[in-house]
Symmetry: C2
């Protein structure tokens, strides 16, 4: 372990999740770990930030080379307070977010708190990796995610000086035995969207309420350069993520309209 490196770890499932513990252990192989993770589950929180509400930070665990804080804010709040408050005097070498319980491939990157925190971290000019396993269960088996996560982390740290900034990787690992994983593929984000099925219920006083459930619609299931294709074929999918949301194609077609 290199004590010279400082690794910031966060997630969206909260500091008590199994995936977070796996990420802290993995990170500690590469350097000193300081983690700030949400106090409670913050899945689906995207790039949300907390405005006009107080935020509580508390030390949850401290041991040799590992310090873990629980924070009452969103995943992005975790990254912000890490860089703009806790680390203001220290150089951070790597941001790791996850290991998420559930895939953040395709358009899930936009809804994901795990990726929200990873993207935010990358905006501080530090290489950032969001790591997710395509398995939502609380006791998911993270062996494959740890194995391939380790490989991606080592490669990024080794090449960090010559890679561009911001650098944010969305790494998704298929749900299968580690030995069945076919390798790592560089991909682009699959085109597609969710369609929801709202379960309708009534509370004891007759008030209607809904549960959001849905299914991802992949509109290009046969495109071999996409992250969904990679996962479906038992590859680890790596998609670099950026924050310029301008649609340059549409920009051209608006000429003369506006």
């Amino acid at each position: 372990m290199s004590r010279d490196r400082l690794i910031f770890v966060t997630n969206d499932d909260g500091y008590m999740s199994k995936g977070f513990s796996a990420m802290v252990e993995l990170a500690s192989e590469f350097g000193e770990v300081i983690a700030i993770a949400p106090e409670r589950v913050q899945s689906g929180m995207s790039q949300a930030i907390t405005i006009n509400q107080p935020l509580f930070l508390r030390l949850a665990e401290q041991r040799e080379g590992v310090t873990i804080y629980a924070f009452s804010g969103t995943p992005v709040d975790c990254s912000k307070i890490a860089f703009d408050h806790l680390f203001s005097e220290r150089r951070v070498d790597l941001v790791l977010s996850g290991i998420n319980h559930g895939s953040n491939a395709a358009i899930n990157v936009m809804y994901s708190g795990t990726m929200g925190a990873a993207i935010e971290g990358s905006l501080y000019d530090v290489p950032s990796i969001g790591l997710s396993l395509d398995d939502h269960s609380a006791d998911a088996d993270f062996e494959g995610a740890v194995k391939y996560g380790r490989e991606v982390i080592a490669s990024v740290l080794e090449a960090a000086d010559r890679l561009p900034r911001p650098l944010c990787l969305n790494v998704n690992v298929p749900r299968c035995a580690a030995s069945e994983i076919q390798g790592i593929r560089l991909c682009r984000q699959t085109r597609g969207f969710w369609r929801e099925d709202f379960f309708e219920r009534e509370d004891p006083s007759g008030r209607k309420y809904f549960w959001l459930t849905g299914a991802f619609q992949n509109i290009e299931p046969n495109s071999e350069d996409t992250d969904e294709w990679a996962l479906a074929h038992r590859y680890v999918a790596v998609v670099p993520v950026q924050t310029d949301m301008t649609d340059y194609r549409v920009l051209k077609s608006l000429d003369g309209v506006l």
Copy 2:
């Protein structure tokens, strides 16, 4: 007013906000309005969705051509229940989100609940417009936003058949008298990020807490094709928004690294 058109209206400041009322009035000039807006303020909620929590929908107001629901979920939840539950049998002609109290130019597009809901709406193949005024105050003057919003809406509806899908516009209006606005500019998203200043306080029992405050860092203030430049020069900024977050430039530079 054309009763043939159906306009879906939402926002992130909640159904009680002044900007939302201004948007409903504006929308009703173009067709029947059905609005679903958050029960409470949801600023900064980004593309967040509500997982594993029940969602409550209630009719808040009904009058000639205008129906308004208040929803306990996020702005994106509002768009999802509109299209996947309420409108499943009806064709929607336009999505309008706002009028937001505060600019959503530059990287704010990623944190904004207003734009989260607008983006989500565009994924149902309906033209979508997020409209924001560069003024956070609760009693902001929406005259300029309404005037230029009307112009953008009319142009989009007129050209809807020949414009590509998904189509989502991030429209930001400067804070000045309507008569001082210089016109409309098609722009790209300004490059930049926020740096935060966490105000630290102590509660009566000595527990530390923080308030998130910050300032936007524009790393290209002189680029005349950006939305921040347009706003600073009293133009209405229009940026088309897409959902492919792949960083294709970085994808190339990862060749051989992973």
